[in-house]
Amino acid sequence: MESVIRGAAVYLFVWLIFRVSGKRTLSNATTFDLVLLLIISETTQEAMIADDNSMMNGLLIIVTLIGIDIAFSLWKQRSKAVERLLDGAPLLIVEDGRLIPERAIRSRISESDVMEAARDKHGLERLDQVKYAVLEVSGKITVVPK
């Protein structure tokens, strides 16, 4: 019983903390972000496993985590509002070569973040070559060139 409760509690807690920390947290994938993610996963694992290293405990926790994930995805499929609540929504941050300042500030995005995505995927040189840039739910910035 405890394994299922632990698995569910950790799933919900991790979801909540990543959800309220913003789209950009840990999505930048710098080396440090990767290390931070590994530290978080290690800490989470300790909290879930506690002092029970049995196979049955591992099996129960995996089934719980995957089960909740499937349940959430089915729920998201049925309702747009639930999908927004659980995953968030994409946000337009550059329109016609201009950064929309308020959205960028609140989403913790700078012009250089947009230019990094623009150079990376499209080899663009300047912001005015960007038609649209969208902050996706994954935290990545996608760019539509002019």
């Binding site: 959800r19 920390s21 002092d51 929504a89 994409p90 337009l92 201009r98 308020e102 609140r106």
Partner: protein, 168 residues
């Protein structure tokens, strides 16, 4: 450019600025909550720390126990029992309530008792102690979350009682 701008009609994007406003608000509130949690952790309100470490002394001052008010399940911590003169007992006998022992795992007793006796309601530990008193450390681990009430004392002498908060 205003924040309530609609996305261009030809860009198929599932944008929802009302939701985004709520999201940003939740992010701001959560930052404050995270700061409060970290501060509470530093102060020792969520486990061991300065506000957690406390002591309880019997009315006559012969026994004092230093303990953590806030504990975490499966984390080890020490109960330090100080017995002060007058202790005319030879050997020194310290009893611990059985009900409390059911909520913790005693990992180590320093110094080790010479022997122990088990009764229905308590366990009595016997030590060789000098006339100047003794300090005994009990390393223990709370087995699960709850509000265990601990009682311990000197056999045929004073006792102390305290409650701990054990977080999951």
């Amino acid at each position: 450019m205003q924040i309530d701008d609609q996305p261009p009609a030809h860009l198929q994007i599932d944008q929802d600025l009302t939701h985004e406003e709520r999201q940003w608000k939740a992010e701001r509130i959560s930052r404050v909550i995270m700061l409060l949690i970290a501060t509470a952790g530093l102060l020792g309100l969520l486990g061991r720390g300065p506000l957690s470490y406390t002591s309880v002394r019997s009315a006559d001052g012969t026994i004092e126990v230093r303990y953590h008010r806030f504990e975490r399940a499966l984390a080890s911590s020490d109960l330090v029992v100080s017995v002060k003169p007058p202790t005319d007992q030879t050997p020194l006998a310290i009893w611990i309530d059985q009900e409390y022992l059911g909520t913790v795992k005693l990992e180590r007793i320093t110094p080790e008792p010479n022997w122990s006796e088990v009764h229905a309601d308590r366990v009595v530990l016997y030590f060789d102690a000098g006339p100047e008193g003794a300090v005994i450390s009990l390393r223990q681990q709370a087995l699960g979350p709850g509000l265990p009430q601990a009682q311990l004392g000197i056999e045929a002498g004073s006792s102390v009682s305290f409650r701990q908060i054990v977080y999951p």
